[in-house]
Structures are given as C-alpha cells and as structure tokens.
C-alpha cells in the first residue's frame, strides 16, 4: 500500500478535526472564507467515504493502528463494510444539511461551523473505532458538539429542551463508564475484538457481572438511539432546534443503532459462548413498542417538526426490529432502511423550515393558515418526502419495509412484526396525508405579507430526496452491499482475526 491509501481510515476522522480547528482560528475571517472551508471539508468526506466503501466492498477490513501499537494494546480504527456504509450516510446528510445552513442559520449564533465539523469528527470516529473506551470518547465529542449545535441561536424552548438533552446524556455517559469499567475489570481489555475473544471464555462466576455490563451498555445505546422508554428526550430536542441541526441529528440516533449492531454482533453474538445472544429477549419487543409509540406520538403531534421527531422514534423502532431478527436478511433489510430513513428524515426536516417560514407567524403548527407562497414546489416536495417517510412505493421506504417483512417470514416474531409494521405504516400514511392537506389545502385568504421561498431554501431537501430515488434505481447493488455487510457482521471471526492479526 502506498502512503495515502495506508492512512485512508484515519482521514475521515482527521479532516473534520483539522477543519474545525482552522475554522476556530479563522472565526473573525470573512463569512465567505468560513463557508468555503466548512463546505470543502464536508464535501471532501464524500469521496473519502466512497474510497473506503470501494476498499471495504470486497470484504477487506482495513485496520489502522494508531501510533503503530499492535492491538489489543494500542487503539485501532477498523474500516469494514458497516463502518464505510455509516460514513457514507453521514457524509451525504452532513453535506446537504450544511448547504441548507449556509443560507442563514449559521449566523444566528457563534461558532456554528466549528461545532458542525467537531460533530462530524465525533460521528466519524464513533463509526470507525475498534476500541470500547475510544467509542466512549467519540460519543462525548459528538455529544458536546451536539449540545452546542442544539442550543445554536438560543431561545426559551431551545434552552429548556437543551437542558433536558444535556442532563440525560450526562447520566448516559456515566452509565457507559460503569459498563466499560466492569468489562475492563473482568476481562482486562477494551479492544472490541479482544473483548469478543475474552467474553466468549467467561468463567461462570463472572457471568452475572458480564451480563450486567452488557445490558448496561445496551441501556446506554438505547438511550442514544431513543428506544422506548428512553425516547422521551428526542421529540422536544429535535422539534425545537434549527433545521440543519435537526437534519444532521437524523444520523445521531443511528449512532446508537450502529453501536447496538456492532457491539452485540461482535461481542455478544451467536459465537460468544456463555454470553451469546444476550439481547435476544429484549431487542425485538422494545423495538416494536418503540415503533408503535413513535407513530402514536406522530398522530398526536400539534406541529410539523414535532411530528417528524416522533416519526424518527418510529423509524428507530423499525430499524432495531430489523436488527433484532439477527439473520442475514433481517440485518440487510435494516442496513438498507438505515440510509433511507436518515436521508428522508433529513429531507423532511429541511423542508419543514421553508414551510414554517412561508406560513408567517403560524410557523409549523397544525392550524389553518393563509395560502403560502410557493405552495406548489414546497407541497410537491413535501408529498415526495411524505411518501418516502411513510414507506409507500415507489420510493426507498417501501423497499426497506418490504425487505424487512420478507426477512421476518421465518421468524417466530413474524405475526407481531408484520402487524406492527403494516399497521403503523397505514397510520403513518393517514397522519402525513392529514398534515399535508392541513398545511397546503385548508387555507384562507389573508392580508398578511408572506415571503415566497427562494430556490436555496428547498434545493438541499430536493437533493436528499433525489439521493433517496437513487437508492431505488440502484436498489440491486445497494441491497447486495447491505447483504454482504450483514454476512460479514454475522461472522465476527474475520473481524477478530483482522484486528488481532490471527494471534489468540
């Protein structure tokens, strides 16, 4: 391997960090300079993710030893299929959310671009790291940046939602440390591959400790993923923050889902001896209840962004139900559904912003308002985004749910999963149709002066929807990649060998 490609796995982590520091140093530079640095750094993540995707697609698991210390003594970054997949989704959502932010949201407060880059630094690091404590550190980085972004622009409701978000995440971090400490105390290692080896050999007297730590970790990840009953922080936080931040946060719940998938397929998977399939009894019922509760929240929502936030909770339920099937088809369905739901959620959050602004003082509350200027283009995009969110053909949500339903055919959970997914799908269609007709059709004339949206207001959302369309057109290769990823995840021995270099 030559110089640059050898260092490929660290670049998506280093680039946003360096860009963030440079932006901090240039905080009094002209806005155009800050914009171009931030945009260039974010856009460069797309080719980097593509390069990693190309490298990982043949099954290679690139292991990057930081400081060239061998695992398990040093910290490693591992770029396998799953990590590259998550990096790709992050890069795309981040790029379009930033394009939306450039039209004005970024100057409502200070240091938007610095925090944005540090958030990407945390996200990319969390997806790449192969070390449990390092995962905690990257969680903290992305959380600290997200606290700043969430509060960006200020305001009563934002501060109140932010306070709840910060406090609950601090408690979550403490629990994460307790779990990590217990695992270290029992096994003497924090490298995930080494943990997988050591946990499989857990002696009976330590079994209860390891199970407690494993389930504590699950609690932390479930908190990040907003799994019921730990989802209550999400709707307020997402509904009250600014549009580009909400769109970027679409990937934040997926960090929790990713960690559940990574940790429980690697460390507590079918090969893990006494602690095998630790989550088998927990994940599926919780995921299905989350799906139903999220959809009920969406029905009861009184404003568009609150409704979307509850739809995020519902989509987490669908995603984790797919992972809980614990079969190649199930995980593949989840991995196809994951970028779809991230893109669709981000698109509809970005759309809610021009819709709210075009309605004047009613903002995005569900009450009849004046006919909004530019209703045709906004309404058309809302229609497309709603189809994607609700999972109707021809957009990618339908394919994702179809793959999930087909994967569940053999599962003992089939009846529950089919009824939950189909019923909430129907409710989702009705809810979104009701919101759409209320926002766009039930209008009255007004003397209020309303400003029409500019093209820059809806173009990023339209771009995200086009990407979703791309996921349908190239559904073959995308789902093949997802299936290959799922196969790789369910055979953790290859990951362990790649990291530990075949040593026991």
């Amino acid at each position: 391997m030559n110089g640059l490609s050898m260092h490929l796995p660290i670049l998506p982590v280093l680039l946003p960090l360096v860009a963030g520091i440079v932006l901090l140093a240039l905080r009094s530079a002209p806005l155009a300079v800050q914009h171009s640095i931030s945009l260039a750094a974010t856009a460069a993540l797309v080719p980097l993710a593509l390069a990693l995707l190309a490298t990982a697609s043949d099954g290679t698991q690139l292991v990057y030893k930081l400081g060239n210390w061998d695992a398990p003594f040093g910290i490693v970054l591992v770029a396998d299929r799953l990590a590259a997949w998550m990096l790709m989704a992050t890069a795309l959502v981040a790029l379009f959310a930033l394009l939306h932010a450039l039209r004005g949201d970024d100057v409502q407060g200070r240091h938007f671009h610095v925090l944005y880059q540090l958030q990407l630094f945390g996200l990319n690091g969390a997806f790449l790291t192969g070390d449990l404590f390092n995962l905690f550190v990257f969680f903290e980085i992305l959380l600290l940046a997200s606290y700043g972004l969430l509060l960006h622009g200020g305001g009563r409701l934002r501060v109140k939602a932010g306070l709840h978000f910060v406090v609950i995440n601090l408690v979550g971090s403490t629990l994460f440390l307790f779990a990590v400490g217990t695992l270290y105390g029992v096994t003497g290692t924090l490298n995930m591959a080494d943990l997988a080896v050591k946990l499989a050999r857990t002696v009976p007297e330590n079994l209860a400790l390891v199970e407690a730590a494993g389930l504590l970790l699950f609690g932390v990840f479930a908190l990040k993923a907003a799994l019921l009953p730990l989802h209550l922080w999400l709707p307020a936080a997402y509904a009250h923050t600014s549009a580009p931040v909400a769109a970027l946060f679409a990937i934040m719940t997926k960090v929790g889902a990713y960690s559940i998938l990574r940790v429980y397929s690697l460390m507590f998977g079918a090969d893990a001896g006494a602690v095998a399939n630790l989550l088998a009894d927990w994940l599926m019922p919780l995921a299905l209840v989350t799906l139903v509760a999220g959809m009920l929240g969406a029905v009861a929502a009184t404003a568009l962004r609150q409704q979307i936030a509850y739809l995020v909770v519902a989509s987490v339920g669908t995603l984790l139900a797919a992972f809980a099937l614990d079969s190649v088809d199930g995980i593949a369905a989840g991995l196809y559904y994951l970028p779809h739901t991230t893109l669709a959620t981000a698109a509809i959050f970005l759309l809610a912003d021009p819709i709210a602004r075009a309605r004047g003082e009613r903002a995005d509350r569900f009450e009849t308002g004046p006919a909004m200027p530019g209703a045709r283009i906004l309404g058309g995009l809302f229609f497309a985004a709603a189809i994607a969110m609700a999972g109707l053909p021809p957009l990618s949500g339908f394919l994702g749910k179809f793959m999930l339903l087909r994967a569940a055919l053999e599962s003992p959970w089939m009846t529950w999963l089919w009824s939950a997914v189909l019923a909430t799908g129907l409710v989702g269609v009705i809810t979104l149709a009701r919101s759409g007709s209320l926002l766009f059709y039930r209008t009255h004339s007004t003397t209020e002066k309303l400003t029409a949206p500019r093209a820059a207001d809806w173009l990023p959302a339209a771009g995200l929807l086009l990407l979703g369309l791309g996921m349908v057109i190239w559904a073959g290769p995308v789902s093949d990649y997802a299936t290959a990823t799922a196969t790789q995840l369910l055979e953790p021995q290859a990951y362990i060998d790649a990291v530990l270099g075949g040593r026991p």
Partner: protein, 113 residues
C-alpha cells in the same frame, strides 16, 4: 479496604441519583457531579487496589495496572468539561426561563415549600 471503597462508591452513586432527580437545576448539577465522582473512583478501582507499587513494569515483581489510571484521567477531564458546560447552561436557563426549575415552570407545590 475493598469494602470501604465499595461503600463510598455506593453512597456517592446513591446521593448522585437522588440529587439528579430533584426539580431544580442546582441539585441536578450537583447530582451529576457526584455521579461522575463515583464513576471515576469505580474506574480507578477496576485496576484492583494495591499499595506502594509503581504503575510501570520494572524489575520489581509487583506493579499496578496503569491503564485504569489513564482511563480515569480521560474520564475526569471529560466530566470536568461537561460539568462546566452544564453549569453555564443551567445559568442560561435560569436567565431565559426566569426560574431554576428544570422544566422552566415552578408548580405551586414547589413555591409553597
């Protein structure tokens, strides 16, 4: 000594949980601080307790595990930063919402006390 440390961690955690569940931001911040003290101590103890041995592998036979000490340093720095942040946020919430209740609204029950 193990029993003493275990009791200390337990008391710190219990106080932390109790305070974090209070309705005003100041006790909540204190509770989070107690929780982070408890977890830092817990992480440190995970390397087992030893007296008077260096955290380096040397010619002497006995040594104590240096990794938890490194971990706990990282955790202390992070929790220190987080505490600073949450204090500033609590002050901002006090200024924006006009009171120090975590929900921004004092119920009559609270004011009576």
């Amino acid at each position: 000594m193990e029993a003493l440390i275990a009791v200390v961690i337990g008391v710190l955690t219990a106080s932390g949980v109790f305070l974090a569940l209070r309705g005003q931001t100041f006790p909540v911040v204190l509770g989070l601080t107690f929780l982070s003290y408890a977890v830092n101590l817990f992480l440190f103890v995970m390397g087992r307790l030893a007296i008077g041995v260096p955290p380096v592998i040397s010619d002497a036979a006995a040594y104590t595990d240096p990794l938890p000490q490194a971990l706990v340093l990282t955790a202390i720095v992070i929790s220190f930063g987080m505490t600073a942040f949450v204090i500033v946020l609590a002050l901002k919430a006090r200024a924006e919402l006009g009171n120090d209740h975590v929900d921004g609204t004092h119920s009559e029950e609270d004011t009576a006390r």
